[in-house]
């Protein structure tokens, strides 16, 4: 799946973007420079996203937030209210931004035949280093999908070990 065509590849520095957070403040990608950033694209209706949701909070955010890792969940093409309900259902304390138009998702989405970008991007994971460079990219593939995020955890451990 990593062979899918997308704007950003491993090694690319991501252009800055800003999106509203659930509390109506705005988050800019550049706000997180200096930290390792784990970026995940999600939607409340998506079964795989629902399966992954508890692990994002418990296994990634809670275990890595004090180790210099910033998590940023980008909800794609949904309203603030719907996303708030989803956040509350899973007890998320992790930061969530809402890409209501899908404009940011479009920048990251792979080209998947027959699927619009706002669907093709769901359950995609990116890890950016402290300079904003992509060091890991994983697009959703049913055959390799792991709701427990084992590959991400392994990769984060590796990046943190390298300093």
């Amino acid at each position: 799946m990593s062979k899918l065509i997308a704007k950003y590849n491993v090694g690319d520095v991501v252009d800055d973007f800003s999106l509203p957070m659930l509390d109506s403040t705005t988050a800019k990608l550049s706000d997180f420079r200096g930290k390792v950033l784990f970026l995940v694209f999600t939607a409340t209706w998506c079964p795989y996203c629902g399966a992954e949701a508890p692990y994002l909070e418990k296994e990634i955010w809670q275990k890595y937030k004090d180790k210099g890792v910033q998590v940023l969940v980008v909800d794609v093409k949904e309203s603030n209210q719907v996303v708030k309900e989803f956040r509350d259902r899973y007890g998320w304390t992790l930061p969530v931004v809402v890409d209501e138009t899908g404009e940011v998702a479009l920048q990251f989405a792979p080209k998947k035949e027959g699927l619009p970008p706002e669907i093709a991007i769901l359950n995609s994971h990116f890890i950016l280093d402290k300079t904003g460079k992509i060091v890991f990219r994983e697009f959703f593939a049913l055959e390799t999908f792991d709701a427990r995020l084992s590959a991400i955890i392994h990769k984060l451990d590796k990046i943190l070990a390298q300093g």
Binding site: C46, A51, L122, F140, F145
Partner: protein, 141 residues
């Protein structure tokens, strides 16, 4: 191949009997065909985060609707969850008893309905959709 999200399912409504009579119970049958390799969640999904399939009928004068009967779901295992999911695939039939009032006049009415569902192809899941259908019902004395 491009997926037509708005018309992903094929919905074919029919009536039994084909002509309704006042005071006599009939039945609306909605045949739902799910594209090969795909599925939709059942009316009672196995996980709280899954969106149930739901048939909704618009109210209509002189015809009452009985409890909607969904088929038995297929239990299916997926690699991404330990829970055995309850889904619909292939072609299913959703049935609704129609109770025609005794004072219903002879006329033709149109029953409008919507199927709310969330489906997945063999490789991706699709956003929730509300797909509409309609059928003319002739009421004879």
């Amino acid at each position: 191949m491009h997926i037509n999200l708005a018309q992903w399912l094929r919905l074919v409504p029919s009536l039994e009997p084909a002509v309704l009579k006042p005071g006599v119970e009939g039945q609306l049958i909605v045949a739902v065909t799910i594209p090969a390799g795909g599925h939709i969640e059942s009316d009672q999904p196995a996980e709280k985060f899954l969106i149930p399939t739901k048939l909704v009928l618009d109210p209509i004068e002189h015809i009452g609707y009985g409890p909607i009967r969904y088929p038995k779901a297929i239990e299916k295992r997926f690699s991404w969850t330990e829970t055995v999911l309850k889904v619909f695939s292939s072609t299913i039939q959703i049935k609704v008893p129609l109770i025609v009032s005794r004072d219903a006049p002879a006329k033709t009415v149109t029953i409008f309905g919507t199927l709310n569902y969330q489906g997945c192809t063999a490789s991706s899941c699709l956003p929730p959709n509300n797909q509409k259908f309609s059928i003319e019902a002739k009421i004879l004395p």
